[in-house]
């Protein structure tokens, strides 16, 4: 059991890591040492980090497996982008507009998290996982089939094509079905991304320390015992789940305001993306916030770092992933690691030298 003081120190280290990385990145950019490709990855890294940290709330702290996290990100991304498109001419001050978009994305995603969570959190384990996967796919598929336009009469929605929207002459189509949303103003940047990471961290780390957070962890550790001491299981589960969804929504807004064309495919918002976020969480250590940050950053950078391998790069990525999982979690390898760890070797070295001295 860690005491409160060390826990506080622990959190400071986490904030510190984020800030120091930010400063280093800024120095590298201003010194011209960072390639254009790498600069383009800075915001995606922020998105991955926020997603990983927020999923860790569901998987690590609440202890429920969710395979539909990208669905909430999709909701945030779409609603945020729609808002920005509608307000493009009304609010011209982009930071304010982006802030409102973030708020809307978070609220919508959080609300859907609440709606979905209410029936679904009754299920357990792998069944919950499959239902969240199903919800993620539903959101992605609906987003893919959706047409939405705006004119002076308001918003028009259709599931068929852009003609059936019946727009007035001056109307514009915002979502063009599978082509998605194009040319969203690029309001997001690295600094905002890092600020959002810090806010996410602040929310989750404080939640973990609070009374609510302890109740959530009690449910994870032993549901029945938690219920028997009067913890309202549904309330706390819903709280954690919808908070996690809202944070994913924020990541989605950040994502949608950083790319020129937003489409809902399996790789962006479908099950592949949900799985990728889960990979960050598990690789970084379930329930370990700092681990999630590092794993998300490394795995987002890895395909770019491996670019010199050209065609083999995704193959190597897969092998590295399997190897890292084995290295991190296999009981035999953990035992071997402990035997051959630096600390252990040093101790052995000390022992042998001290024996010599006695002689």
């Amino acid at each position: 059991m860690k005491s409160k003081i060390t826990k506080g120190k622990d959190n400071l280290i986490t904030y510190g890591i984020v800030l120091i990385s930010y400063v280093i990145a800024q120095i590298l950019i201003s010194a011209g040492q960072m390639s254009y490709l790498l600069q383009g990855l800075l915001v995606p890294i922020c998105v991955s980090v926020i997603l990983a940290v927020s999923l860790n709330l569901t998987v690590g702290i609440l202890g429920e497996l969710s395979l539909g996290h990208a669905g909430f990100m999709c909701l945030g991304a779409y609603f945020g982008a729609i808002f920005t498109h509608c307000m493009k001419d009304i609010i011209t001050f982009s930071p304010l507009r982006f802030f409102l978009a973030l708020l809307i994305g978070a609220v919508v995603a959080g609300f859907f998290g609440f709606l979905i969570g209410m029936p679904v959190l009754r299920l357990r384990g792998d069944y919950l996982a499959i239902v969240t996967l199903a919800f993620g796919e539903i959101i992605k598929n609906v987003a893919n089939a959706l047409y939405l336009g705006i004119d002076r009469n308001g918003l028009h929605i259709s599931l068929k094509d852009s003609l059936s929207l019946n727009l007035e002459e001056d109307g514009t189509v915002i979502i063009k079905g599978a082509q998605g949303i194009i040319s969203t103003p690029r309001d997001a940047n690295f600094t905002i991304g890092v600020i959002l990471i810090l806010i996410t961290l602040f929310i989750i780390m404080n939640l973990v320390k609070s009374r609510d957070g302890r109740a959530i962890m009690a449910i994870r550790d032993n549901r029945i015992a938690a219920e028997s001491i009067g913890i309202n299981i549904t309330k706390y589960k819903l709280m954690a789940f919808s908070l996690s969804a809202a944070l994913a929504g924020i990541a989605g807004v950040l994502y949608s305001h950083n790319i020129s064309s937003l489409v809902a495919t399996t790789n962006t918002f479908g099950y592949n993306m949900s799985i990728l976020i889960l990979v960050y969480v598990v690789l970084g250590g379930i329930g370990n916030i700092r681990g999630s940050i590092i794993a998300a950053a490394i795995l987002t950078l890895l395909p770019e770092v491996l670019r010199f391998l050209d065609e083999q790069r995704m193959l190597i990525y897969a092998i590295v992933l399997i190897a890292m999982m084995l290295f991190r979690w296999s009981p035999q390898i953990i035992a071997w690691r402990e035997q051959h760890s630096l600390k252990n070797l040093l101790q052995k070295f000390k022992k042998t030298t001290s024996k010599k001295e006695v002689r």
Partner: protein, 295 residues
């Protein structure tokens, strides 16, 4: 009415493929308590093996099919040995899940590297003519007949295997209680390997049937049917063999009818909505066992 029957038959046929794939998920889940996300990609590898044998090397189809089954079986055992076995004692089942995803990426990208990203046209391996009834209004393709027959044979065979043979009984015992099974002298590791071997062999057959009916073959061919089959397995109650059959067929019918009568884009949405409703009413699937909770 006639077109409805045609769609229904197509749905049952598609569902039979899902059922065969779902068997692999269900058996592995029942025995190793892990979701083998790489299972869909084993299907893809099996299909590519047949494609390689027939279209690129000119082997006779029967030989290519046998080759594909052997390859998938060996691959299933190897994957289990390298990637899953070292993690079996680890803390969380999630860890194995992620490793399975790593294996899935690996297989997809290996296929991408060897065969390229272009869509390959898979020539149907089933030489049966289309059957026509009611003056040609109802037609059943040869692929559909073979698929449904295969599904029935596999289901009965597997049920008999588990009920009547010693290795089958060992599988039941291991899925019930690994520790106790080991104490009774059952080779747990061997039994799990056998499960993976059977599941992967079935995946090769499923790949053959799937690609004969839907001839476009890419490195990602297996991933969506894999997910659907996983849904089917959960739908019928994961761990149950008749459940996989029912789940698969129901899913296939819903998907085909949804595509035909509502919207091709919304078919998947309907499938998933039905799944959610079923799970909310019966949280362990249609034929799943209800777990008693002990305090």
């Amino acid at each position: 009415m006639m077109s409805f029957l045609n769609h229904l038959i197509r749905g049952i046929s598609l569902g039979s493929v899902y059922a065969i794939i779902a068997l692999g998920y269900t058996m592995v889940y029942g025995i190793a308590k892990m979701l083998n996300f790489a299972h869909g990609d084993v299907i893809m590898v099996g299909s590519f093996a047949i494609y390689w044998g027939v279209s690129m090397q000119g082997l006779p189809p029967v030989l290519a099919i046998l080759l594909s089954i052997v390859l998938c079986t060996v691959m299933g055992i190897t994957i289990e040995f390298i990637a899953y076995r070292p993690l079996r004692q680890s803390a969380s089942s999630l860890v194995v899940l992620i490793t399975a995803i790593g294996v899935s990426y690996f297989l997809q990208n290996l296929a991408l590297l060897i065969f390229g990203a272009n869509t390959k046209t898979f020539t149907s391996m089933i030489p049966l003519e289309t059957l026509r009834f009611a003056g040609g209004d109802i037609s059943i393709s040869g692929e559909a007949i073979v698929t449904m027959l295969c599904c029935l044979i596999i289901m009965t065979g597997l049920t008999l295997f588990i009920r009547k043979t010693k290795p089958g009984q060992a599988m039941l015992a291991v899925s019930e209680d690994k520790g106790a099974a080991q104490l009774m002298g059952i080779n747990v590791n061997g039994t799990i390997s056998l499960t993976f071997a059977i599941g992967s062999g079935l995946a090769a057959i499923a790949g053959l049937l799937l690609c004969s009916a839907y001839p476009a073959l890419t490195p990602y061919t297996g991933s969506m049917p894999g997910i659907k089959a996983f849904v089917a397995a959960v739908f019928g109650g994961i761990g149950s063999i008749p459940g996989a059959l029912i789940g698969g067929v129901v899913l296939g019918i819903i998907e085909t009818l949804g595509k035909a009568y509502i919207s091709s884009q919304m078919a998947d949405v309907i499938v998933f909505i039905v799944l959610i409703i079923v799970l909310l009413v019966k949280p362990t699937g249609l034929l799943g066992r209800k777990l008693q909770e002990k305090v």
